[in-house]
Protein backbone atom coordinates (compact mmCIF):
# COMPACT_ATOMS: atom_id res chain seq x y z
CA UNK A 1 0.00 0.00 0.00
CA UNK A 2 3.05 2.25 0.24
CA UNK A 3 2.85 3.02 -3.46
CA UNK A 4 -0.73 4.16 -3.11
CA UNK A 5 0.18 6.33 -0.15
CA UNK A 6 3.04 7.89 -2.13
CA UNK A 7 0.79 9.09 -4.95
CA UNK A 8 0.75 12.86 -5.35
CA UNK A 9 -2.77 13.99 -6.12
CA UNK A 10 -3.58 17.59 -7.00
CA UNK A 11 -6.93 19.26 -6.29
CA UNK A 12 -7.73 19.19 -9.99
CA UNK A 13 -7.36 15.39 -10.18
CA UNK A 14 -3.86 15.13 -11.63
CA UNK A 15 -2.05 12.12 -10.16
CA UNK A 16 1.69 11.51 -10.17
CA UNK A 17 3.22 8.15 -9.25
CA UNK A 18 6.81 8.88 -8.09
CA UNK A 19 7.68 5.16 -8.23
CA UNK A 20 7.10 4.77 -11.98
CA UNK A 21 6.84 8.37 -13.18
CA UNK A 22 3.40 7.59 -14.63
CA UNK A 23 0.68 10.19 -14.47
CA UNK A 24 -3.08 9.80 -14.32
CA UNK A 25 -6.27 11.79 -14.27
CA UNK A 26 -8.98 10.97 -11.75
CA UNK A 27 -12.48 12.35 -11.39
CA UNK A 28 -13.82 13.62 -8.08
CA UNK A 29 -15.29 10.26 -7.09
CA UNK A 30 -12.05 8.40 -7.66
CA UNK A 31 -10.17 11.13 -5.78
CA UNK A 32 -12.37 10.63 -2.71
CA UNK A 33 -11.98 6.85 -2.95
CA UNK A 34 -8.19 7.07 -3.23
CA UNK A 35 -8.18 9.18 -0.11
CA UNK A 36 -10.35 6.59 1.68
CA UNK A 37 -8.17 3.70 0.54
CA UNK A 38 -5.05 5.49 1.75
CA UNK A 39 -6.75 5.78 5.14
CA UNK A 40 -7.43 2.03 5.09
CA UNK A 41 -11.25 2.26 5.02
CA UNK A 42 -13.18 -0.96 4.40
CA UNK A 43 -15.98 -1.35 1.85
CA UNK A 44 -18.70 -0.01 4.15
CA UNK A 45 -16.51 2.90 5.11
CA UNK A 46 -15.86 3.76 1.48
CA UNK A 47 -19.57 3.54 0.62
CA UNK A 48 -20.38 5.82 3.57
CA UNK A 49 -17.71 8.25 2.45
CA UNK A 50 -19.16 8.41 -1.05
CA UNK A 51 -22.69 8.94 0.30
CA UNK A 52 -21.43 11.70 2.54
CA UNK A 53 -19.56 13.50 -0.23
CA UNK A 54 -21.84 12.97 -3.24
CA UNK A 55 -25.51 13.07 -4.17
CA UNK A 56 -26.02 9.35 -4.83
CA UNK A 57 -29.22 7.76 -6.10
CA UNK A 58 -29.43 4.14 -7.13
CA UNK A 59 -25.83 3.52 -8.15
CA UNK A 60 -24.17 0.25 -7.24
CA UNK A 61 -21.42 1.81 -5.14
CA UNK A 62 -19.64 -1.42 -4.05
CA UNK A 63 -19.42 -2.46 -7.71
CA UNK A 64 -17.88 0.90 -8.63
CA UNK A 65 -15.39 0.60 -5.76
CA UNK A 66 -14.32 -2.82 -7.01
CA UNK A 67 -13.97 -1.41 -10.51
CA UNK A 68 -11.57 1.28 -9.29
CA UNK A 69 -9.60 -1.24 -7.27
CA UNK A 70 -9.24 -3.41 -10.36
CA UNK A 71 -7.76 -0.42 -12.19
CA UNK A 72 -5.36 0.21 -9.31
CA UNK A 73 -4.24 -3.43 -9.39
CA UNK A 74 -3.79 -3.30 -13.11
CA UNK A 75 -1.62 -0.18 -12.98
CA UNK A 76 0.41 -1.73 -10.13
CA UNK A 77 -0.64 0.93 -7.64
CA UNK A 78 -1.80 -1.71 -5.15
CA UNK A 79 -0.46 -5.28 -4.76
CA UNK A 80 -1.84 -7.91 -7.14
CA UNK A 81 -3.91 -9.67 -4.53
CA UNK A 82 -5.29 -6.53 -2.92
CA UNK A 83 -9.01 -6.53 -2.09
CA UNK A 84 -11.03 -4.00 -0.15
CA UNK A 85 -11.94 -5.40 3.24
CA UNK A 86 -15.58 -6.08 4.03
Amino acid sequence: MQRLRDLAISDSGFVFDPFSGATYTVNGTAQVLLDGLKRGLDRDGLVALLRERFECSTEDLPRDIDDLVQSLRMFGLVPGGFEVRG
Binding site: T23, V26, N27, T29, A30, F54, C56, S57, E59, S71
Partner: protein
Amino acid sequence: MSRPLYDRPILARHQTGLMNKFSRVASMQPQTHIDGVPVQTLTEAYGSPLFVFSEKTMVARYRELRDAFARRFSKVRVTWSYKTNYLDAICKVFHREGAWAEVVSEFEWEKARHNGVPGERIHLNGPLKTEATLRRVLPEGTLIHVDNFDELALLERLADELHLTPKVAVRVNMSVGSLTAWSRFGFNLESGQAMTAANRILAGKRLELVGLHCHLGTFILDPDSYREQAAKLAGLANELRRAHGAILSFIDIGGGFASHSKLKAQYLPGEQATPGFDRYAAACAEGMAALDYPAGQEPTIVLESGRALVDDAGTLISTVIANKRMPDGQRGLVIDAGVNVLFTSFWYDHDVVPAQPFGGISEPTVMYGPLCMNIDVVRDTIQFPPMRTGEQVVFRNVGAYNVTQWMQFITYRPAVVIIGADGRHGIIRKREQLETLLASEEVPSWL
Protein backbone atom coordinates in the same frame (compact mmCIF):
# COMPACT_ATOMS: atom_id res chain seq x y z
CA MET B 1 -24.09 23.80 0.20
CA SER B 2 -25.41 20.97 -2.03
CA ARG B 3 -23.21 18.00 -2.71
CA PRO B 4 -21.95 17.26 -6.25
CA LEU B 5 -23.74 14.54 -8.22
CA TYR B 6 -22.15 11.12 -8.02
CA ASP B 7 -20.20 9.98 -11.06
CA ARG B 8 -18.59 6.56 -11.45
CA PRO B 9 -14.92 6.63 -10.36
CA ILE B 10 -12.45 6.89 -13.20
CA LEU B 11 -8.68 6.52 -13.11
CA ALA B 12 -7.27 7.18 -16.58
CA ARG B 13 -3.57 6.67 -17.21
CA HIS B 14 -1.91 9.25 -19.46
CA GLN B 15 -0.47 7.73 -22.59
CA THR B 16 3.01 8.88 -23.46
CA GLY B 17 4.50 8.82 -26.90
CA LEU B 18 5.15 10.99 -29.91
CA MET B 19 2.46 13.54 -30.52
CA ASN B 20 0.88 13.21 -33.92
CA LYS B 21 0.76 16.21 -36.19
CA PHE B 22 -2.89 16.80 -35.38
CA SER B 23 -2.11 17.23 -31.69
CA ARG B 24 -4.87 16.15 -29.33
CA VAL B 25 -8.02 14.24 -30.12
CA ALA B 26 -10.96 16.34 -31.26
CA SER B 27 -13.47 16.84 -28.49
CA MET B 28 -16.54 14.66 -28.74
CA GLN B 29 -19.98 16.23 -28.88
CA PRO B 30 -23.22 14.41 -28.13
CA GLN B 31 -25.80 13.92 -30.86
CA THR B 32 -29.15 14.33 -29.19
CA HIS B 33 -31.25 14.80 -32.36
CA ILE B 34 -31.38 13.37 -35.85
CA ASP B 35 -32.74 15.85 -38.39
CA GLY B 36 -34.39 17.74 -35.56
CA VAL B 37 -36.05 14.70 -33.98
CA PRO B 38 -34.87 13.80 -30.45
CA VAL B 39 -33.12 10.43 -30.31
CA GLN B 40 -35.15 9.60 -27.22
CA THR B 41 -38.42 10.24 -29.09
CA LEU B 42 -37.33 7.80 -31.77
CA THR B 43 -36.38 4.98 -29.41
CA GLU B 44 -39.53 5.47 -27.33
CA ALA B 45 -41.59 5.12 -30.49
CA TYR B 46 -39.67 2.36 -32.28
CA GLY B 47 -37.40 0.65 -29.73
CA SER B 48 -33.66 0.06 -29.57
CA PRO B 49 -31.51 -0.68 -31.44
CA LEU B 50 -32.88 1.40 -34.27
CA PHE B 51 -31.69 2.38 -37.74
CA VAL B 52 -32.70 5.89 -38.75
CA PHE B 53 -32.40 7.29 -42.28
CA SER B 54 -32.45 10.93 -43.26
CA GLU B 55 -34.34 11.63 -46.48
CA LYS B 56 -32.84 15.12 -46.51
CA THR B 57 -29.28 13.77 -46.53
CA MET B 58 -30.05 11.18 -49.20
CA VAL B 59 -31.52 13.78 -51.52
CA ALA B 60 -28.66 16.21 -50.88
CA ARG B 61 -26.02 13.56 -51.61
CA TYR B 62 -27.82 12.44 -54.77
CA ARG B 63 -28.08 15.98 -56.14
CA GLU B 64 -24.48 16.73 -55.24
CA LEU B 65 -23.31 13.66 -57.18
CA ARG B 66 -25.56 14.25 -60.18
CA ASP B 67 -24.63 17.93 -60.40
CA ALA B 68 -20.90 17.27 -60.08
CA PHE B 69 -21.00 15.06 -63.18
CA ALA B 70 -23.68 17.07 -65.03
CA ARG B 71 -21.36 20.07 -64.92
CA ARG B 72 -18.80 18.11 -66.92
CA PHE B 73 -20.77 15.71 -69.13
CA SER B 74 -23.73 16.43 -71.38
CA LYS B 75 -25.44 13.16 -70.51
CA VAL B 76 -25.30 11.58 -67.05
CA ARG B 77 -27.26 8.68 -65.58
CA VAL B 78 -27.17 7.84 -61.90
CA THR B 79 -28.22 4.26 -61.17
CA TRP B 80 -29.06 3.29 -57.62
CA SER B 81 -27.00 0.31 -56.45
CA TYR B 82 -29.63 -1.94 -54.92
CA LYS B 83 -27.27 -4.15 -52.95
CA THR B 84 -26.24 -1.17 -50.82
CA ASN B 85 -29.70 -0.81 -49.34
CA TYR B 86 -32.77 -2.24 -51.02
CA LEU B 87 -35.46 -1.22 -48.60
CA ASP B 88 -38.31 0.04 -50.77
CA ALA B 89 -38.56 3.43 -49.09
CA ILE B 90 -34.84 4.09 -49.57
CA CYS B 91 -34.98 3.02 -53.23
CA LYS B 92 -38.02 5.20 -53.84
CA VAL B 93 -36.21 8.30 -52.59
CA PHE B 94 -33.52 7.82 -55.23
CA HIS B 95 -35.90 6.76 -58.01
CA ARG B 96 -38.01 9.84 -57.31
CA GLU B 97 -34.85 11.88 -57.91
CA GLY B 98 -34.44 10.18 -61.28
CA ALA B 99 -32.09 7.27 -60.54
CA TRP B 100 -32.29 4.12 -62.63
CA ALA B 101 -31.59 0.78 -60.92
CA GLU B 102 -28.38 -1.24 -60.87
CA VAL B 103 -29.06 -4.79 -59.71
CA VAL B 104 -26.97 -7.93 -59.38
CA SER B 105 -29.57 -10.67 -58.98
CA GLU B 106 -33.07 -11.64 -59.99
CA PHE B 107 -34.22 -10.78 -56.46
CA GLU B 108 -32.90 -7.23 -56.79
CA TRP B 109 -34.41 -6.99 -60.29
CA GLU B 110 -37.79 -8.01 -58.84
CA LYS B 111 -37.35 -5.38 -56.14
CA ALA B 112 -36.65 -2.71 -58.75
CA ARG B 113 -39.67 -3.72 -60.81
CA HIS B 114 -41.75 -3.75 -57.62
CA ASN B 115 -40.57 -0.20 -57.02
CA GLY B 116 -41.92 0.82 -60.41
CA VAL B 117 -38.66 0.93 -62.35
CA PRO B 118 -39.30 -0.10 -65.98
CA GLY B 119 -37.27 -3.10 -67.13
CA GLU B 120 -35.37 -1.03 -69.68
CA ARG B 121 -34.20 1.30 -66.90
CA ILE B 122 -32.44 -1.50 -65.04
CA HIS B 123 -28.79 -2.44 -65.46
CA LEU B 124 -28.34 -6.14 -64.59
CA ASN B 125 -24.83 -6.72 -63.43
CA GLY B 126 -22.80 -9.32 -61.58
CA PRO B 127 -21.78 -12.92 -62.11
CA LEU B 128 -25.16 -14.49 -61.28
CA LYS B 129 -27.40 -14.47 -64.34
CA THR B 130 -29.13 -17.80 -64.78
CA GLU B 131 -30.96 -18.79 -67.95
CA ALA B 132 -34.25 -18.48 -66.08
CA THR B 133 -33.35 -14.96 -64.98
CA LEU B 134 -32.34 -13.90 -68.46
CA ARG B 135 -35.50 -15.39 -70.01
CA ARG B 136 -37.46 -13.26 -67.61
CA VAL B 137 -35.63 -9.95 -67.93
CA LEU B 138 -34.68 -9.86 -71.63
CA PRO B 139 -38.24 -9.32 -72.92
CA GLU B 140 -38.44 -6.29 -70.64
CA GLY B 141 -35.43 -4.66 -72.25
CA THR B 142 -33.15 -4.82 -69.22
CA LEU B 143 -29.56 -3.86 -69.98
CA ILE B 144 -27.22 -6.79 -69.45
CA HIS B 145 -23.62 -6.24 -68.39
CA VAL B 146 -21.90 -9.36 -69.66
CA ASP B 147 -19.49 -10.97 -67.23
CA ASN B 148 -17.99 -13.95 -69.09
CA PHE B 149 -17.97 -15.91 -72.33
CA ASP B 150 -20.39 -18.59 -71.08
CA GLU B 151 -22.89 -15.87 -70.34
CA LEU B 152 -22.25 -14.35 -73.74
CA ALA B 153 -22.99 -17.67 -75.43
CA LEU B 154 -26.15 -18.07 -73.37
CA LEU B 155 -27.30 -14.58 -74.34
CA GLU B 156 -26.70 -15.32 -78.03
CA ARG B 157 -28.74 -18.52 -77.80
CA LEU B 158 -31.58 -16.79 -75.97
CA ALA B 159 -31.54 -13.95 -78.50
CA ASP B 160 -32.23 -16.51 -81.22
CA GLU B 161 -34.85 -18.39 -79.24
CA LEU B 162 -36.70 -15.32 -78.05
CA HIS B 163 -36.30 -13.40 -81.32
CA LEU B 164 -34.81 -10.46 -79.46
CA THR B 165 -31.71 -8.36 -79.82
CA PRO B 166 -30.69 -7.86 -76.18
CA LYS B 167 -28.88 -4.65 -75.32
CA VAL B 168 -25.62 -5.52 -73.63
CA ALA B 169 -22.53 -3.89 -72.20
CA VAL B 170 -19.13 -5.49 -71.85
CA ARG B 171 -17.91 -5.46 -68.29
CA VAL B 172 -14.20 -4.74 -68.27
CA ASN B 173 -11.63 -5.24 -65.56
CA MET B 174 -8.27 -3.48 -65.66
CA SER B 175 -5.17 -2.52 -63.71
CA VAL B 176 -5.27 1.01 -62.38
CA GLY B 177 -2.46 2.53 -60.33
CA SER B 178 -1.88 0.74 -57.07
CA LEU B 179 -5.48 -0.48 -56.70
CA THR B 180 -6.02 -4.19 -56.34
CA ALA B 181 -7.69 -5.12 -59.61
CA TRP B 182 -11.14 -6.62 -59.31
CA SER B 183 -10.20 -9.11 -61.97
CA ARG B 184 -12.83 -11.69 -61.17
CA PHE B 185 -15.57 -9.62 -62.78
CA GLY B 186 -15.92 -9.12 -66.50
CA PHE B 187 -13.34 -9.34 -69.26
CA ASN B 188 -9.75 -8.26 -68.81
CA LEU B 189 -8.65 -5.22 -70.78
CA GLU B 190 -4.88 -5.64 -70.79
CA SER B 191 -4.97 -9.23 -72.05
CA GLY B 192 -7.25 -8.30 -74.95
CA GLN B 193 -10.15 -10.36 -73.58
CA ALA B 194 -12.50 -7.36 -73.42
CA MET B 195 -11.80 -6.51 -77.06
CA THR B 196 -12.41 -10.13 -78.05
CA ALA B 197 -15.78 -10.12 -76.29
CA ALA B 198 -16.79 -6.83 -77.90
CA ASN B 199 -15.65 -8.02 -81.33
CA ARG B 200 -17.74 -11.15 -80.96
CA ILE B 201 -20.85 -9.16 -80.01
CA LEU B 202 -20.42 -6.67 -82.82
CA ALA B 203 -19.60 -9.27 -85.43
CA GLY B 204 -22.34 -11.69 -84.36
CA LYS B 205 -25.10 -9.08 -84.57
CA ARG B 206 -27.36 -11.14 -82.33
CA LEU B 207 -26.75 -8.77 -79.44
CA GLU B 208 -26.55 -4.99 -79.51
CA LEU B 209 -23.43 -3.62 -77.85
CA VAL B 210 -24.58 -0.40 -76.20
CA GLY B 211 -21.99 0.16 -73.51
CA LEU B 212 -18.79 -0.51 -71.66
CA HIS B 213 -18.61 -0.90 -67.94
CA CYS B 214 -15.88 -1.06 -65.33
CA HIS B 215 -16.20 -1.12 -61.57
CA LEU B 216 -12.77 -0.43 -60.13
CA GLY B 217 -13.41 -1.46 -56.54
CA THR B 218 -14.87 -0.11 -53.38
CA PHE B 219 -14.20 2.86 -51.11
CA ILE B 220 -11.67 4.38 -53.50
CA LEU B 221 -10.16 7.42 -51.83
CA ASP B 222 -7.95 8.45 -54.75
CA PRO B 223 -9.93 10.22 -57.51
CA ASP B 224 -6.98 9.83 -59.89
CA SER B 225 -7.91 6.17 -60.25
CA TYR B 226 -11.00 7.28 -62.15
CA ARG B 227 -8.91 9.39 -64.52
CA GLU B 228 -6.94 6.34 -65.57
CA GLN B 229 -10.02 4.15 -65.70
CA ALA B 230 -11.95 6.64 -67.86
CA ALA B 231 -9.00 7.06 -70.21
CA LYS B 232 -8.71 3.28 -70.68
CA LEU B 233 -12.43 2.87 -71.28
CA ALA B 234 -12.33 5.77 -73.74
CA GLY B 235 -9.41 4.05 -75.50
CA LEU B 236 -11.38 0.83 -75.84
CA ALA B 237 -14.41 2.72 -77.16
CA ASN B 238 -12.16 4.45 -79.73
CA GLU B 239 -10.80 1.09 -80.85
CA LEU B 240 -14.30 -0.30 -81.29
CA ARG B 241 -15.31 2.73 -83.32
CA ARG B 242 -12.27 2.36 -85.57
CA ALA B 243 -12.72 -1.38 -86.01
CA HIS B 244 -16.51 -1.56 -86.34
CA GLY B 245 -17.80 2.02 -86.56
CA ALA B 246 -19.55 1.28 -83.24
CA ILE B 247 -20.90 4.23 -81.32
CA LEU B 248 -21.76 3.26 -77.76
CA SER B 249 -24.67 4.85 -75.98
CA PHE B 250 -23.09 4.68 -72.52
CA ILE B 251 -19.87 4.25 -70.60
CA ASP B 252 -20.41 3.07 -67.06
CA ILE B 253 -17.64 3.97 -64.63
CA GLY B 254 -19.21 1.90 -61.85
CA GLY B 255 -19.25 2.98 -58.24
CA GLY B 256 -16.68 2.85 -55.47
CA PHE B 257 -16.81 6.48 -54.32
CA ALA B 258 -16.07 6.72 -50.61
CA SER B 259 -18.52 7.81 -47.96
CA HIS B 260 -17.52 9.67 -44.80
CA SER B 261 -16.90 6.50 -42.84
CA LYS B 262 -13.34 5.64 -41.85
CA LEU B 263 -11.72 2.38 -42.85
CA LYS B 264 -9.81 0.64 -40.08
CA ALA B 265 -6.56 1.04 -41.98
CA GLN B 266 -7.26 4.69 -42.74
CA TYR B 267 -5.26 7.36 -40.93
CA LEU B 268 -7.38 10.47 -41.42
CA PRO B 269 -11.05 10.69 -40.48
CA GLY B 270 -13.64 10.62 -43.24
CA GLU B 271 -14.32 14.34 -43.22
CA GLN B 272 -10.67 14.93 -44.13
CA ALA B 273 -9.90 11.90 -46.27
CA THR B 274 -13.03 11.50 -48.39
CA PRO B 275 -12.87 13.37 -51.71
CA GLY B 276 -15.90 15.42 -52.72
CA PHE B 277 -17.93 14.26 -55.74
CA ASP B 278 -16.44 17.16 -57.70
CA ARG B 279 -12.98 15.65 -57.49
CA TYR B 280 -14.17 12.28 -58.74
CA ALA B 281 -16.09 13.96 -61.56
CA ALA B 282 -13.14 16.15 -62.54
CA ALA B 283 -10.80 13.16 -62.69
CA CYS B 284 -13.29 11.19 -64.76
CA ALA B 285 -13.75 14.11 -67.17
CA GLU B 286 -10.01 14.44 -67.65
CA GLY B 287 -9.71 10.77 -68.51
CA MET B 288 -12.75 10.76 -70.75
CA ALA B 289 -11.24 13.61 -72.79
CA ALA B 290 -9.42 10.84 -74.69
CA LEU B 291 -12.71 9.73 -76.22
CA ASP B 292 -12.81 10.36 -79.96
CA TYR B 293 -16.52 10.51 -80.77
CA PRO B 294 -18.47 12.73 -83.15
CA ALA B 295 -19.93 15.86 -81.60
CA GLY B 296 -23.42 15.24 -80.29
CA GLN B 297 -22.93 11.47 -80.09
CA GLU B 298 -21.08 11.40 -76.78
CA PRO B 299 -22.07 8.45 -74.61
CA THR B 300 -24.04 8.85 -71.41
CA ILE B 301 -21.82 8.57 -68.35
CA VAL B 302 -23.38 6.01 -66.05
CA LEU B 303 -22.69 5.96 -62.32
CA GLU B 304 -23.52 3.00 -60.09
CA SER B 305 -23.49 4.66 -56.74
CA GLY B 306 -24.76 3.30 -53.48
CA ARG B 307 -22.50 3.72 -50.51
CA ALA B 308 -21.60 7.33 -51.33
CA LEU B 309 -25.29 8.24 -51.51
CA VAL B 310 -26.77 6.49 -48.51
CA ASP B 311 -24.01 5.78 -46.00
CA ASP B 312 -23.98 9.31 -44.56
CA ALA B 313 -27.78 9.28 -44.32
CA GLY B 314 -27.96 6.29 -41.96
CA THR B 315 -27.64 6.30 -38.18
CA LEU B 316 -27.84 3.46 -35.70
CA ILE B 317 -29.08 4.18 -32.19
CA SER B 318 -28.05 1.65 -29.57
CA THR B 319 -28.57 1.38 -25.82
CA VAL B 320 -25.95 0.67 -23.15
CA ILE B 321 -26.61 -2.64 -21.41
CA ALA B 322 -23.59 -2.78 -19.10
CA ASN B 323 -20.17 -1.42 -18.19
CA LYS B 324 -17.27 -3.82 -17.59
CA ARG B 325 -13.63 -3.44 -16.64
CA MET B 326 -11.51 -5.49 -19.00
CA PRO B 327 -8.26 -7.21 -17.94
CA ASP B 328 -6.20 -4.82 -20.07
CA GLY B 329 -7.65 -1.83 -18.23
CA GLN B 330 -10.02 -0.74 -20.96
CA ARG B 331 -13.62 -0.16 -20.15
CA GLY B 332 -15.96 -2.58 -21.87
CA LEU B 333 -19.30 -1.16 -22.90
CA VAL B 334 -21.95 -3.76 -23.75
CA ILE B 335 -24.59 -2.35 -26.10
CA ASP B 336 -27.68 -3.87 -27.66
CA ALA B 337 -26.44 -3.71 -31.28
CA GLY B 338 -23.71 -6.07 -32.39
CA VAL B 339 -21.99 -7.08 -35.58
CA ASN B 340 -25.19 -8.93 -36.46
CA VAL B 341 -26.81 -5.58 -37.29
CA LEU B 342 -23.73 -3.38 -37.74
CA PHE B 343 -21.91 -5.62 -40.17
CA THR B 344 -19.67 -2.77 -41.35
CA SER B 345 -17.94 -2.82 -37.96
CA PHE B 346 -15.65 -5.41 -39.49
CA TRP B 347 -14.03 -2.83 -41.74
CA TYR B 348 -14.84 0.62 -40.34
CA ASP B 349 -13.90 2.46 -37.18
CA HIS B 350 -17.36 3.88 -36.82
CA ASP B 351 -17.99 7.42 -35.68
CA VAL B 352 -19.91 6.89 -32.45
CA VAL B 353 -20.95 9.47 -29.87
CA PRO B 354 -23.29 9.59 -26.85
CA ALA B 355 -26.90 10.52 -27.54
CA GLN B 356 -27.21 12.67 -24.44
CA PRO B 357 -25.08 15.38 -22.82
CA PHE B 358 -22.24 13.91 -20.84
CA GLY B 359 -19.50 14.87 -18.45
CA GLY B 360 -16.56 13.21 -16.79
CA ILE B 361 -13.29 11.84 -17.98
CA SER B 362 -13.11 9.86 -21.20
CA GLU B 363 -11.20 6.62 -21.03
CA PRO B 364 -10.17 3.90 -23.50
CA THR B 365 -13.32 1.94 -24.27
CA VAL B 366 -14.20 -1.08 -26.34
CA MET B 367 -17.81 -1.56 -27.42
CA TYR B 368 -19.25 -5.04 -27.50
CA GLY B 369 -22.54 -6.15 -28.98
CA PRO B 370 -25.02 -8.52 -27.36
CA LEU B 371 -23.87 -11.74 -29.06
CA CYS B 372 -22.22 -14.62 -27.23
CA MET B 373 -19.37 -14.45 -29.71
CA ASN B 374 -15.87 -13.12 -29.18
CA ILE B 375 -15.94 -11.44 -32.59
CA ASP B 376 -18.81 -9.21 -31.56
CA VAL B 377 -16.80 -6.00 -31.25
CA VAL B 378 -18.56 -3.04 -32.81
CA ARG B 379 -15.88 -0.49 -31.96
CA ASP B 380 -12.45 -1.20 -30.63
CA THR B 381 -10.41 1.24 -28.64
CA ILE B 382 -12.00 4.66 -28.56
CA GLN B 383 -11.71 7.43 -25.96
CA PHE B 384 -15.27 7.55 -24.69
CA PRO B 385 -16.96 9.38 -21.81
CA PRO B 386 -18.72 7.59 -18.94
CA MET B 387 -22.04 6.01 -19.86
CA ARG B 388 -24.78 4.68 -17.62
CA THR B 389 -26.87 1.64 -18.42
CA GLY B 390 -29.95 2.68 -20.38
CA GLU B 391 -28.19 5.65 -21.98
CA GLN B 392 -27.78 5.66 -25.73
CA VAL B 393 -25.05 5.97 -28.30
CA VAL B 394 -25.35 6.98 -31.93
CA PHE B 395 -23.32 5.40 -34.75
CA ARG B 396 -23.11 7.74 -37.73
CA ASN B 397 -22.63 7.04 -41.44
CA VAL B 398 -23.96 3.49 -41.31
CA GLY B 399 -26.58 3.66 -44.07
CA ALA B 400 -24.80 1.45 -46.60
CA TYR B 401 -24.71 -2.34 -46.56
CA ASN B 402 -25.85 -2.83 -42.97
CA VAL B 403 -29.54 -3.32 -43.64
CA THR B 404 -28.70 -5.69 -46.48
CA GLN B 405 -25.77 -7.62 -45.02
CA TRP B 406 -27.14 -7.83 -41.47
CA MET B 407 -27.86 -11.23 -39.99
CA GLN B 408 -30.77 -12.63 -38.10
CA PHE B 409 -28.59 -14.25 -35.49
CA ILE B 410 -29.30 -14.81 -31.79
CA THR B 411 -31.70 -11.88 -31.67
CA TYR B 412 -34.20 -10.10 -33.86
CA ARG B 413 -33.21 -7.54 -36.42
CA PRO B 414 -34.28 -4.03 -35.38
CA ALA B 415 -36.73 -1.62 -36.91
CA VAL B 416 -35.71 0.90 -39.54
CA VAL B 417 -37.28 4.33 -39.76
CA ILE B 418 -36.96 7.30 -42.06
CA ILE B 419 -37.18 10.98 -41.19
CA GLY B 420 -38.76 12.94 -44.01
CA ALA B 421 -37.54 16.27 -45.27
CA ASP B 422 -40.32 17.93 -43.28
CA GLY B 423 -39.44 16.18 -40.02
CA ARG B 424 -42.13 13.50 -40.19
CA HIS B 425 -40.87 10.07 -39.30
CA GLY B 426 -42.20 6.63 -40.02
CA ILE B 427 -41.23 2.99 -40.03
CA ILE B 428 -39.84 1.49 -43.24
CA ARG B 429 -39.01 -1.97 -41.89
CA LYS B 430 -40.63 -3.47 -38.83
CA ARG B 431 -38.63 -4.97 -36.02
CA GLU B 432 -38.59 -8.73 -36.41
CA GLN B 433 -40.47 -10.88 -33.94
CA LEU B 434 -40.94 -14.58 -33.41
CA GLU B 435 -43.78 -14.74 -35.95
CA THR B 436 -41.54 -13.16 -38.61
CA LEU B 437 -39.16 -16.07 -38.37
CA LEU B 438 -41.70 -18.80 -37.87
CA ALA B 439 -43.49 -17.72 -41.05
CA SER B 440 -40.83 -19.37 -43.22
CA GLU B 441 -40.27 -22.46 -41.07
CA GLU B 442 -42.03 -25.81 -41.37
CA VAL B 443 -41.98 -28.88 -39.15
CA PRO B 444 -42.39 -32.21 -41.04
CA SER B 445 -45.31 -34.36 -39.93
CA TRP B 446 -43.08 -37.03 -38.37
CA LEU B 447 -41.62 -34.57 -35.85
